[in-house]
């Protein structure tokens, strides 16, 4: 038996034969999720394939999060189609306000360590946070998984990122992943699995691991796996570790003990600079949300900056929770009250303005600072806006001062 990466081991386990990078495998899938952007096309493809029942209704999930609540009648009718489909097929539907698809799959335990889980959404690698292979696909591939309970995969090569060192105050998982996207580039992990390990990783919370794995999509990665050492997971599981002599496409080591807060400047998520390089840039819209960064620890980081103060005149601070559970927890511990008193506007749990479909579209030449994952031109619905991506603490600091500010400066 040849030595294997974590990704090769998981695929081999599910395929029932030993596979290695470059080989094609047909594997049973443990879950297949689609959102309101991708489910309607998937439902149509499923019917066109001749599908009348889902192979595994217990492993199919529909989530209304990308345009929730519906901004117009066209989308409202697509949502209706999803509700009807879920009722007919007997699969679970998360309706308006439940939260963002990836958050819900993890929070409700639908995805488990060593699963192969498909999502018709590019940020599906997020499930690497729990040691699962989350793989983003399109609507037709998802429909095929609903029909057959399987998918075909090219076993990816793996880039291993070894992250060591103790993070400085105000430096978070978002800064780590922005830094790495900058280092590897927007296509730096195309077709590959990215495995994260090292002491800077094994100390991270589940929420931080989700932030880390999430933006592997911005390197072009197929999937992500975060070392499950130190993972706080409610149910027992058998950890899968790479063999010591496994073959990697690349192994890169980084000492993060001197990493400073990072930011992506327009118009690509790999245009990464230290926050200090763009300090003083005026902003009009601040957004805390998305599958990357809108969990309780993210809100706590924002509240630590904003509590007892008031956002700058002329700034809109919009916050969309990753899930209703996040909102309820933040309501119970006083975080919502602190952020609201500082001037934040709360939105429906879901993708919010990240995808540019509804809510919070910026005006021409407006500058947005956001905790989301993409700043492509037009991403938030207006090609003439400018989007900066950074951590919740830095977004909160910018909302407070009206310009891009390192939170360390606020302490002086």
């Amino acid at each position: 038996m040849t030595a294997q990466t974590v990704t090769e081991k998981i695929i081999s386990q599910r395929a029932g034969i030993a596979v290695r990078a470059g080989e094609i495998a047909v594997v049973p899938v443990d879950g297949a999720m689609a959102s309101d952007t991708t489910a309607p096309l998937a439902m149509r493809a499923f019917r066109e394939m001749g599908g009348t029942r889902l192979k595994r209704p217990d492993q199919a999930f529909l989530v209304i999060d990308h345009a929730a609540p519906a901004p117009n009648e066209r989308i409202a009718n697509l949502h209706r189609l999803m509700r009807d489909f879920a009722a007919e097929m007997g699969c679970q539907l998360y309706d308006v306000g439940a939260g963002i698809c990836h958050q819900l799959m993890v929070e409700n335990g639908h995805v488990q360590p060593s699963h192969i889980f498909l999502g018709a959404d590019s940020h599906t690698p997020t499930y690497g946070a729990v040691g699962a292979l989350g793989i983003g696909m399109g609507s037709t591939d998802l429909a095929a998984a609903w029909l057959t309970g399987k998918t075909w995969l090219k076993v990816p090569e793996t880039t291993k990122l070894v992250l060591n060192g103790r993070l400085q105050p105000h430096v978070s998982a978002k800064d780590i992943i922005l830094f790495l996207v900058g280092q590897l580039g927007i296509a730096g992990a195309t077709y590959q699995a990215v495995e994260f390990t090292g002491t800077a990783v094994t100390h991270l919370s589940l929420a931080s691991r989700m932030t880390l794995a999430n933006m592997v999509a911005e390197m072009g990665g197929k999937t992500a796996v975060v070392d499950t050492t130190g993972l706080d997971w409610p149910t027992p599981f058998t950890p899968i570790q790479a063999d010591p002599d496994a073959r990697y496409h690349a192994v890169r080591e980084f000492d993060l003990s001197h990493l400073t807060p990072q930011i992506a400047v327009p118009h690509s998520p790999d245009n990464i600079v230290p926050v200090t390089a763009v300090a003083g840039q005026k902003i009009q819209l601040a957004f805390i949300g998305s599958c990357t960064n809108s969990r309780l620890e993210d809100w706590h980081a924002a509240a630590a900056v904003l509590a007892g103060q008031r956002i700058a005149p002329g700034v809109r601070l919009l916050i969309a929770p990753a899930s209703k559970a996040v909102f309820d927890a933040a309501l119970a511990d006083g975080t919502v009250a602190a952020l609201s008193a500082a001037g934040a506007t709360f939105m429906t749990a879901g993708c919010g303005p990240c995808v540019g479909t509804h809510q919070g579209v910026p005006g021409d030449e407006e500058v947005v600072i956001s905790t989301a994952n993409r700043n492509f031109r037009g991403r938030m619905g207006n090609p003439n806006a400018h989007i900066y991506l950074t951590s919740p603490a830095i977004v909160a600091a910018a909302a407070l001062t009206g310009e891009i500010t390192n939170p360390a400066e606020l302490e002086n």
Binding site: T37, E48, H66, T140, D141, I186, A187, R377, R379
Partner: protein, 166 residues
């Protein structure tokens, strides 16, 4: 699969899915609605200029970003017959073949706008008929060839009912 001939529309590297079809237009089942906004923020003239059968040519990492299948659907509905790029982002690549839009990876190239191209999907090559240059294409896995030959994944599964074991 026959050879596809068409005129090249050439773009650069890292054309992301928001540039192919902005997210605000994706929530629809009407492909003509997608075609009406294809490449809107990258080249507003494209949808007027594209003729049925034309070839879209790009550099590195075409289709990076979202998993939206509306991106290849928009190109196909606008009349694009095949997309040729140095290389593709993987979800776009899979989606295109699944919906029956051929995609061909040829590595670095010097194809210029207006070039007449002949794309032979089975032989795996692109001929630039304006100057005779031949670009060999990356070979597809057998399962992708079978999906493309069926006209997409819907037809493939309607005919077979399941994936063939590899």
């Amino acid at each position: 699969m026959k050879t596809i001939q068409g005129i090249a529309h050439v773009y650069g590297d890292n054309v992301d899915t928001d540039r192919i079809i902005p997210g605000k237009y994706t929530k629809t089942l009407d492909v003509s609605h997608l075609a009406a906004h294809v490449l809107e923020d990258l080249d507003p003239d494209f949808r007027q200029q594209v003729q049925p059968g034309d070839v879209l040519v790009a550099g590195d990492n075409f289709g990076c970003g979202s998993s939206r299948e509306q991106a290849p659907l928009a190109l196909k509905a606008a009349g694009v017959s095949v997309v040729v790029a140095a290389y593709f982002a993987r979800i776009f690549f899979r989606n295109a073949i699944n919906i029956g839009l051929p995609v061909v990876e040829i590595g670095p190239h010097a194809i210029t706008p207006g070039a007449r191209l002949a794309v032979d999907l089975l032989a795996g090559q692109v001929v630039d008929e304006s100057n005779g240059r031949i670009y060999p294409a990356t070979r597809l896995p057998d399962v992708m060839v079978a999906i493309l030959q069926a006209g997409g994944l819907v037809n493939y599964l309607r005919e077979r009912g399941d994936y063939e074991q590899q």
